[in-house]
Subunit: 345 residues, 2 copies
């Protein structure tokens, strides 16, 4: 070795422990990993030596030897999006419970970056990958080529060779539309994203289907990106288009935030003039004005299922579809936004 040890006292290694305890290095391994029977006395001696030296096993060496890094990779479109941030945190938690680490990477909304990050994770030797992709059919070749178990999280389409876990968007849209209809609103519009490719988004399909089933009128449909700016643009279109329906199903919370702003700017009241239910259930929906009623994805459960699929999946590919739940706040009209006393002012 030709490198100076790190500043500070060099970390103790397994052989130091072995020497101090008067055993072979193998025994230290047995004690540390509990993989073999070691006599109580020896165990005690080894434990003591470990404590004395403050020994911590070198996980890099372990990873090299094992051919497994005990790390999971996760790539997100953008951790700055509260919904993905929740997902990331949940995955981290589910992973930590199993003694693994997550290596998180942001694709920043770029497919090219997504691929680069993916390859990077492969190089780092992650044992599995949780991929939240913005595209329906991500490029899985680097993963498949390396034989790395992969699960597509927050995904609703079928993809060959990998497991997916997603929300039942059809059911989510049904929940939203039925709720809005339950408020007696009879024309229900849709604000939805643009990046869904050529496959019909289940949110759109279900919105259309449910509106028809309930015998309500189909309001306008506006397609804009899944961002607050997209939502703002949608709101502006709706307002200037002069065809503002009394109810709107918005396919993401962030869009709803932007929509709300456009509506406010135009002096349109929510929920009095337009009632809104959105979809995601991210934190920021609770502190918009008015607070958003939203169909919430079961984020923790999604994460747990995804991690389990990766670890226990053992090559099986399954499609997990989880049910969302409606969280009522003020934007749909369920709860009065202002306090009674305030309204009386």
């Amino acid at each position: 070795m030709d490198r100076a040890p790190r500043s500070g006292r060099p970390a103790a290694k397994r052989s130091d422990v072995a020497q101090l305890a008067g055993v072979s290095t193998a025994v230290v391994s047995y004690v540390v990993n509990g993989t073999k029977n070691v006599s109580p006395e020896t165990t005690a001696r080894v434990r003591e030596a470990i404590d004395l030296l403050g020994y911590r096993p070198n996980r890099t060496a372990r990873a090299l030897r094992l051919g497994a890094s005990e790390m999971l990779g996760m790539v997100l479109p953008d951790a700055t999006n509260p919904y993905f941030a929740m997902l990331a945190r949940a995955v981290e938690e589910a992973t930590a419970e199993r003694g693994l680490t997550v290596l998180t990477a942001n694709a920043n909304g770029s497919l090219e970056t997504e691929n680069r990050r993916l390859e990077h994770l492969v190089d780092r030797g992650v044992d599995g990958v949780v991929l939240c992709s913005t595209v329906l059919d991500p490029d899985l070749r680097p993963l498949v080529g390396a034989g790395i178990p992969t699960v597509l999280l927050n995904h609703w389409a079928d993809v060959a060779g990998v497991s997916t876990v997603g929300v039942d968007l059809w059911e989510g849209a049904r929940l939203a539309v039925e709720h809005l209809a339950g408020h007696g609103l009879d024309r229900i519009g849709l604000v939805i994203g643009t990046n869904v490719g050529h496959v019909l988004d289940p949110r759109e399909a279900s919105w259309r289907h449910t509106v028809a089933r309930l015998g309500r009128g189909e309001g306008p449909i506006v397609r804009e990106p899944f961002t607050p700016w997209g939502g703002y643009a949608a709101g502006t279109k709706l307002v200037t288009g002069g065809d503002l329906p009394p109810a709107l199903f918005v396919s993401s919370d962030r869009q709803a935030l932007g929509l709300l702003r456009a509506l406010h700017e135009a002096g349109i009241r929510v929920p009095e003039d337009v009632a809104i239910v959105s979809l995601d259930g991210s934190d920021d929906a609770a502190f918009s004005w008015p607070p958003l009623s939203t169909v919430a994805a079961p984020v923790e459960e999604m994460a747990r299922v995804a991690v389990a699929a990766l670890i226990e999946g053992a090559g099986a590919t399954a499609r997990h579809v989880l049910l969302p739940t409606l969280v009522c706040r003020a934007s749909c009209g369920c709860t009065p936004a202002r306090r009674a006393t305030a309204a009386a002012r």
Copy 2:
């Protein structure tokens, strides 16, 4: 080795490349890392072999050999907080530019978890740590003990032995208060967090100082946690306390979100009845209602400085204090919130 190779064809290793190219393994290293002169012909042959086999160096082995993982660790209080999410993304970017990877960990607001995550990062052999702690004086022992370079990000107090990079909060508060005063408002209150320990928060000190210097009245001061719920509680107090000042400096965007909600519920208009400037500059401030005027931290710069301090710092400990900038939106009264046409309705 006693383990089956991963499913799929086993990855090519350096010796395969060497064999195919008809050179020694050392030469492959030289070519891959560009550490030594290799003749053009040999280089070409090696490159070809690499492409042919789809060879990718094993970073775990490299890390073990080098004694450096080429990973940086980052621990955050909560990546679900948009401000920290921005910081995390910026750090990831600054790190990627240098060919390194970030291992991110969430402390979930718990000091105990923070320490556990820190130790975990040490075990993983990270070459440096970016620590965003919620406490003023975090436990750096695991880091110092292992001789791992550390920088405290988003920190404003002096801590022995490590570099810090933070925002000039005094200046931030000055900017906010002066701006509010510039709108002709003469009593300026403060909403601030509770978890600052026994040291006087510079935001509070500067608010007090600036208000006095400008000859304005000091409005009420409310202390609640740095969360939307804290902000909501603060707003409720202010409203029911009956001492609502015409201007409020709020020490974090998330608090401001909650505050806004409490104000809305009480039918109080922003900025007409109360003008608000907050501090952070996170994304969600742009889509609240009304959009928040906020003193924005130079997040990208903070991240770059932090990463540079870690990598080029070479044991030096410096204190970097960066300047925030005021971003005016509607909550302070600079911009009319509603469109003129809407106001005319």
